[in-house]
């Protein structure tokens, strides 16, 4: 791997050590939080205030500024989990295990948010709280995939075995996500006819698009923050008998 600069390789190896990762997280968190809040502020201001009212949907379309970024995050996080799982299985990296399991509840939360906000958007638009449209149905199945990871990890007592199990599950799941998505989309078109739902591909105005992208970026920073918070607890639990944790307690 001589194309990768030396300092990056060294950094990568350093982060594999739990105490380094732990202290690095603590150093990063204030910065991540600051950036997140700025992006969130700008995104919400742009989305809720600056962006013009939609011709067809009125102001209810503004739900898009949480619904779509949340849906994007729900997919993004599962992919991150799968990558972490791959790294864990191939290189047996403890931190990869931690990242995987720390991301799961956050991914599930984003999936939940996507579903709930989808319902709240759909009710005034289509008159019902739930529609079996392709996106929502795929999101629902994705929620089950997340819950599967969380349940499996909780059910296996030895956490090292549990980590390997969820790594395998995440990899199997990620391969299936495009298949599930395609098949659900196909299934949906059968019973829908030629009408295109407004949720699927809004032809979007730039003033409406920018806050959306800002919110999406903000959510990525949020993911880093939340994941690191969970990861810190997970690391402490796994490493509770080590010297560095004991020293951490004494330093308090």
């Amino acid at each position: 791997m001589s194309i990768v600069p030396e300092f990056i390789v060294r950094f990568y190896h350093k982060t594999a050590s739990p105490p380094y990762f732990y202290s690095l997280s603590n150093k990063l968190l204030p910065w991540l939080t600051a950036i997140f809040l700025i992006l969130l502020g700008y995104g919400l201001y742009g989305g809720l205030y600056l962006a013009p009212t939609d011709y067809q949907q009125g102001d209810s379309y503004r739900i898009i500024y949480v619904h779509v970024p949340a849906a994007w995050m729900s997919l993004f996080i599962y992919v991150v989990m799968a990558i972490a799982g791959g790294i864990s299985l191939i290189w047996r990296m403890k931190i990869a295990d931690v990242v995987l399991i720390s991301s799961a509840p956050i991914g599930a939360s984003f999936t939940f948010i996507a579903l709930v906000t989808g319902s709240f958007w759909g009710k005034p638009m289509w008159g019902t709280w739930w529609v079996w449209d392709a996106r929502l149905t795929s999101e629902l199945i994705l929620l089950f995939l997340y819950l599967g990871v969380i349940s499996l990890y909780g059910a296996i007592e030895d956490k090292r075995t549990a980590s390997k199990a969820v790594a395998i599950l995440a990899l199997v799941g990620v391969v299936n996500i495009p298949i599930i998505h395609y098949s659900v989309q196909w299934w949906n078109t059968l019973h829908q006819g030629p009408t295109v739902t407004k949720m699927d591909k809004p032809s979007i105005h730039l003033d409406m698009l920018i806050p959306l992208l800002v919110m999406a970026t903000a959510f990525k920073f949020y993911y880093a923050i939340a994941m690191l918070q969970v990861a810190k607890v997970e690391i402490l639990m796994r490493e509770q008998n080590t010297q560095w944790v004991k020293k951490l307690l004494e330093d308090k």
Binding site: L89, S151, L152, T161, K164, A165, I168, G173, S183, W187
Partner: protein, 224 residues
């Protein structure tokens, strides 16, 4: 022992063991018939409604029946230690797992092939769809065993893995359910089912090649 003879030895052994517990084989079958029968009781005996629902009802029930039977894939071997022996074998575990999956399908999938068309007739499925129903079952029940093996191997070490297996495996079954039941529905309407069947064939080959690998990896991890 060569790999080929080991492969067939595993299949033969599982079939013999299953034959000795013939009554247990019947259980998923009875469940299948029961669940299908519950639907008319639940939604009313309106023949038009039942006919519309028939493909989905048969396929959901088949899915559930296979899922319930998955535990038998590794459970008894895990309990009596023969699973560990299998893992110690010099032969690649992936191939041996494939052998067990084949045996499982022969024991649980094939009976469904026989019974499902009868039930379909009771639900009023048009006769022209029966051939497609049979074809989808032939293509997709092995896939159910293949994908199911991943879920079972991840949980074989757990004492009460039952409910978790459904959570792990059912989302992965969704594409199969969609294409299989839709194919039967289209056939009932006299329409072409080529795309659906082609996709089912693709899914079959994909799972046949890809599923035993994570199943074997998960077994190694579960048993140790």
């Amino acid at each position: 022992m060569s790999l080929m003879s080991a492969f067939f030895a595993v299949i033969r052994r599982d079939l013999i063991l299953a034959f000795r517990r013939r009554a247990e084989i019947a259980n998923p079958l009875f469940f299948f018939v029961l669940v299908v029968s519950l639907f008319p009781l639940g939604v009313g005996a309106n023949p038009k409604l039942l006919q519309i629902m028939a493909p989905g009802v048969i396929w959901v029930s088949a899915l559930l029946a296979v899922m319930l039977s998955l535990d038998s894939l590794f459970r008894s071997d895990f309990d009596d230690g023969s699973l560990e022996q299998l893992l110690l074998s010099p032969h690649p575990l992936t191939i041996l797992v494939m052998a067990k999956i084949i045996a499982h399908w022969l024991v649980t999938g094939v009976p469904l092939l026989v019974v499902a068309p009868l039930l379909a007739i009771f639900l009023g499925l048009p006769e022209q769809a029966l051939g497609t129903l049979f074809l989808t079952l032939v293509l997709a029940t092995p896939v159910l065993s293949l994908i199911g093996s991943i879920g079972v191997s991840l949980t074989v070490g757990l004492r009460r893995g039952g409910m978790i297996i459904s959570l792990l495996v059912l989302p992965l079954y969704v594409p199969v359910l969609i294409f299989a039941s839709n194919a039967v529905e289209m056939a009932g309407n006299g329409l072409s089912v080529d795309p659906q069947i082609n996709i089912l064939i693709a899914i079959f080959f994909m799972s046949a090649v890809l599923a035993p690998l994570p199943a074997a990896a998960a077994l190694k991890m579960s048993v140790n």
